[in-house]
Amino acid sequence: MSTGQPPMPAERPQPTAPRSYHFPRFERATLHNGLRLVVAPVSKLPLVTVLAIVDAGAVAEPADKQGVAVLTAQLLLEGAGQLDGAALADRFERIGASVDSSADWDVAAVSLTALTAQLPEALALVRDLLRTPTFPEREVSRLREERLAELLQQRAEPGTLADEQFSCAVYAPTARYAAPVSGDVASVRGLQRDDVLAFYQERFHPGATTIVFAGDVTMTQARALADSLFGDWTGARPPASAAPVDTAQPGALTRIIAKVDAPQSELRLGHLGIPRSAPDYFDAVVMNAVLGGLFSSRINLNLREAHGYTYGAFSSFDWRRGRGPFTVSTAVKSDVTAEAVKEILLEIDRMRREEIDETELTLATSYLDGVFPIRYETTSAIAAALANLVIHELPGDYYDRYRERVRAVTTAGVLRAAQAHLHPDALRIVIVGDPATIAEPLRAVVGAVEVVTPDVAEAAR
């Protein structure tokens, strides 16, 4: 460089006084048939998101019909009322409305985002697909085959394969959570139109449905629309979904799913987690943020920034009604796999052994506190947050109190959460990688290591 350094910059600036923020105000109502409404008027842009959630998630499936919840939700878009799937798609798209329908573990969800002017027409279509889906045989079979293609495809995707095999290793075979939310090959292959119809008839009723509106709409307008489109929808409230079976496999285990010559190991390490309703939810969230939830977390700084083993390493609790998994997830260069596992084990152990520093605590709490308004910039994010209230039966002031509850977490609370919810003696370690490179060094770190081929792993499901 020919130019010298410019004069040094000003001191690091201090924040000015924060401006107040509150989560968008919302109101609730219930129609005569039991259908519930949640409406958050946000009139920044001429846009509305509608999120209809139905108590029809994967945990509500009959035991031998895994995958029927997702298939049913997807099929809502493939024929309703007088329209076939192509015509439905065309009607939504001609008015610029974006629509999606899917299911997760806990609920089925139809989401719609449209310009305000198009809301009545778009919502009338949503009424059709929620109330009068036709489930054409041809589309049932097409979506089933597409799911089977996806499952086939995933066997070549090391990350997805690792996720799937990790669930399998954490949960007892009888637990619904052991299999993918969309079902595995054996179950999906058997799904028929009758199964979809039966699931729909049992689960999709006004009393099991909540419609969330967020955006350029008032309660009066939302209520009038809902009354006219859903007011005469009848049906008994279905039985509440049974508590999900979420039992763990006992003991620790390390299993390599062989991918010969893989340049990287896809690594999943963890065990049974805790449900969303856990009383120490905030302690657990902050604990996870420090351990592996943030970019500046212990695990990421260790594996990525100190060692260069990986592009990124993270940990998470998967928050479900039942006990979702706690997972540490990363992809590391093959020849450092054992070292990476060792470092993760050390970080988990350190988290349980001693209180975190005050500076680590405030990094996590001030991040979660400060980022709160940034999370709710869009109508779809606000609608999803409101749906969460319903799915997890959170109190109405949950979002108003969120930031103070985060700030109230202490280093002692974090240590308690680590000791209660991290279980080094029950770790299930699943690695998709090259056994010739990684198996021996791993044995030196964890002891016994199983090596299986993807086919064996698949067959064992």
Binding site: M1, S2, T3, Q5, P6, P7, M8, P9, A10, R12, P13, P15, P18, R19, S20, K44, L47, L77, A86, A89, E93, R94, I95, S98, T113, A114, L115, E145, E146, A149, L152, Q153, A156, E157, P158, P263, Q264, E266, F295, S296, R304, E305, G308, T310, Y311, A331, K333, T362, L363, S366, Y367, D369, G370, V371, P373, I374, Y376, E377, T378, T379
Partner: protein, 441 residues
């Protein structure tokens, strides 16, 4: 819908764009540097992206790892990304932390080099090589990221080579390279700074002047070679890649008009008619009706110089042969040539695109990024407010002119992935020649 725009330029050449919105107490800061992998040459690939990683490693007043930590402690989100013709860095922070974000960006624009060490470079090289393994080498179809541009642009064209870089070139990058690259491209007159959200314009301007004012103008950067190309490839191009995949997948690319031109909008509309959502021609025909594909979509690279690419991306169903997949995709393109696009099809996609624009502009980060983009490429942030009009102005004649000129056989480049076992059983190993990625020994 229009967003407000205010702009000024500092004496050192830094262009600044402000867009106020007081809906929520947050503000997005976004910096575009007009440099990307196109500014590299063969043998030195991956440098622009490796350099992006180094910009998170601290500067004279910011410790290693402190950049991320300071923003997260402030309650902000952040990242950066590298593309063929630009690199961007961005944060969204609570509005009372605006000056912190500006201070961090100014620090690394002005005072990066004192903080660079061999150890940091070595670690980030390892991180980037792992990013490459994760996104490409250990990912089914992952190599399309570098094979498709290599197939579609001539060898000496700036868009031809790998963005993430070869392992060997990454190994060869030195601290001297870092210093030279920094001095050449990371200068205020090669950057655009956009601020969108909750701020007072006079205060924001004072902050920008305070933080960036002392950074000297650069000495100019080497011009890119002439990037213009004929409107078509001139002949069909084809590369077959046996890979660890379960299903065949075809990337069919067309050379198309550069981003921002009137013809670009016609191309974008034609692409959407082919592959945007479920009423698109490809989804309807290949996924829904013929059921030969599990998925079908189309997209553009949005390159503003030389020539863009329109890409159709179709994955086969398990029972579909490679031949049937190719025939079905080409069949749909041929049908578009034969039967032309209708006004009704254009209305559908323009309405969809308009709604997507409004939805995207809800986020301060998106607004700031688009302001930076239009200023960097065209010197005019106001173009962000003209996008809906540009799409509405697309006529059926223009779309069909694009189709006739560009969707012809001599403008089709096929990058075809086939399951390795099938490939070995049915055809000789393909010649890869100079398309093969250079690997470290």
């Amino acid at each position: 819908m229009r967003i407000p725009i205010d702009r000024f330029t500092l004496p050192n050449g830094l262009r600044v764009v402000l867009s106020e919105d007081h809906t929520a107490p947050l503000v997005a800061v976004n910096l575009w540097y007009h440099v990307g992998s196109a500014n590299e040459r063969h043998g030195r690939t991956g440098f622009a992206h490796l350099f992006e990683h180094m910009l998170f490693q601290g500067s004279a007043n910011v410790g290693a790892n402190e950049h991320f930590e300071l923003v997260q402690r402030a309650g902000g989100t952040l990242n950066g990304s590298t593309w063929l013709d630009r690199t961007n860095y961005f944060e969204t922070v609570p509005s009372n932390q605006l000056e912190l974000a500006l201070w961090l960006e100014a620090n690394r624009m002005g005072w990066l080099l004192p903080a660079m060490t061999q150890q940091k470079l070595d670690t980030q090289r390892d991180v980037v090589q792992n990013e490459r393994r994760w996104s490409m080498d250990n990912q089914p179809y992952g190599s399309w990221w570098e094979r498709l541009p290599a197939l579609c642009y001539p060898v000496e064209h700036p868009f031809n080579h790998s963005l993430i870089g070869s392992m060997a070139d990454l190994d060869a990058a030195s601290l001297d390279d870092i210093a030279t690259f920094f001095a050449t491209y990371y200068t205020p007159d090669n950057a655009v700074l956009s601020i969108a959200g909750d701020f007072d314009p006079a205060e924001a301007r004072a902050m920008v002047e305070r933080q960036f004012g002392a950074i000297p103008r650069g000495q100019g950067k080497p011009p890119l070679p002439d990037m213009s190309l004929p409107p078509t490839f001139g002949e069909p191009l084809r590369e077959v890649v046996p890979d660890d995949v379960m299903l065949p997948r075809l990337f069919l690319a067309f050379r198309s008009p550069a981003f921002g031109t009137d013809e670009y909008y016609a191309a974008s509309v034609a692409g959407a008619v082919l592959g945007l959502k479920k009423s698109s021609r490809l989804y309807r025909a290949l996924v829904r009706e013929q059921q030969v594909a599990a998925d079908a979509q189309a997209f553009t690279y949005d390159l503003s110089k030389g020539a863009d690419l329109l890409v159709v991306d179709v994955t086969a169903r398990p029972e579909t042969t490679v031949e049937a997949l190719e025939a079905a995709v080409h069949g749909e393109i041929d049908r578009m040539l034969r039967e032309t696009v209708t006004q009704q099809e254009i209305d559908r996609v323009v309405t969809l695109i308009e709604t997507e624009l409004v939805a995207a502009l809800q986020s301060a980060s998106e607004r700031a990024d688009r302001l930076s983009m239009f200023t960097t490429y065209f010197g005019d942030p106001g173009l962000v407010n003209e996008q809906a009009d540009r799409y509405r102005a697309v006529t059926v004649e223009r779309v069909n002119a694009f189709v006739r000129e560009r969707l012809v056989h001599e403008n089709r480049a096929s990058l075809l992935y086939v399951p390795r076992d099938e490939a070995e059983a049915s055809e000789p190993a393909p010649v890869q020649g100079d398309l093969a990625m250079a690997e470290a020994p």
